[in-house]
Symmetry: D2
Subunit: 136 residues, 4 copies
């Protein structure tokens, strides 16, 4: 299974070269994750109420085809790797049948009070199962 | 007196029209205020330690001459109006001898705990005096 | 008549105070205008094809109630003033029944080649009529 | 040799978690590259005049220590790899003696008219020599 999120490029996201500035794709990735977690029932509010934060530990992005204003960037989202403490997501961004970029992000889960890493996915068998469904 | 702050336009601040996107000037205004308050000894850290916040209540910006990547925008900063509860700042942004834009911002001061407006400037005769020096 | 556009606040649009950074509302205004012009049949691509640009000449924004991550900001859009050369739009941004901010933007129309102001609305009786329908 | 660029974090670059939003480091990387190329005499204007563009082909960023408003992020910049058609830069961002993040960016050079890759560094023995001085 994969989750698809669409971001229509805003004018203010373009740059002087006439294309979407490369830093913005990192933001599209965040939008996609947030929407996906909401979709599967583990949205930001729930995690915040549970005292859990999920910072970004690392990102990669390889740019293939430029996009520009008004382009509907279709972001195909998958789980690439899971361990008790970390999870890596994958993003394939498509524009008009071409790959705009491929990207990954690595995350851990922290106890918001202590700042210590926690095994969040092990708490919820259901969450772990859903994430496995989205593994590529 | 006036305070001058310079912002050199970054590539990621330009847009598809080849110029600095208009929303970014609002950010240059914040940079200027922050640098000015620091300069006169009432920087953000001090106010935060005192439990005082200073939100933006309103802004205006009139765009005259476009700027672009690498342009050194020279921001001439003044105090336009002061009352016990509010202060209005003025910004004249210059590029190569021309006015890029003229702008204003209105602020109040809040007790961070209660969220209530406070007469911050009256607490410090010295602050009030310095701000008056910068009135246009 | 009024046009309503909704912007759901992204995590990256919040700041250290926990609220939507004030500069972002200027971007929500652009999103709204772009969507409205598209809706009434005079989208960016059409105007670009006609060799017409429509820069922002000025903006104002008064902040009333803060918004934050995931808030659906409902932007009520109107035409405030029209003259042969200029048009002023109005924006009332609502969050959960409260006014988040009220804003305006002033625009002209330029011939992209010569850079000279043009009477764009007079070219299209239909456009002028639609804009009048949205006057407040 | 290494080149050092400092970016003082702006308030608008922080997020609701109280730290610099992770997407902004990608922009600090661009600022660093632009300043470095200017410093060694191959600034943006020169390359633009020569009809050469240098797009970002890929980026990676690993986040170690958060930074926040007013932090002076010290960016240590190096050349990691060079080939006739590509160059990879490295960035170690430091905050108060700790590593904030380590990052890389990969670039090619294009003829602005044809869009074809060019061997830009081979054109200028001097440029190639300087870049080698900054290899880690």
């Amino acid at each position: 299974m994969e989750y698809i999120y669409t971001h229509k490029v805003h004018y203010y996201e373009t740059d002087r070269m006439g294309v979407t500035h490369h830093s913005n794709y990192i933001r599209f990735m965040e939008e996609t994750r947030v929407a996906f977690m909401e979709e599967i029932g583990y949205g930001y509010e729930r995690m915040e109420a549970e005292g859990v934060g999920s910072p970004v530990m690392g990102i990669t992005c390889d740019y293939k085809t430029p996009t520009t204003f008004a382009d509907p960037v279709e972001i195909h989202f998958n789980v690439l790797e899971m361990s008790p403490l970390k999870i890596r997501f994958g993003y394939t961004m498509m524009i008009k049948g071409k790959v705009a970029c491929t990207a990954t992000s690595l995350h851990c889960f922290l106890d918001s009070k202590t700042g210590r890493p926690i095994k969040y996915m092990e708490r919820f068998a259901e969450l772990e199962a859903v994430l496995k469904d989205y593994m590529k």
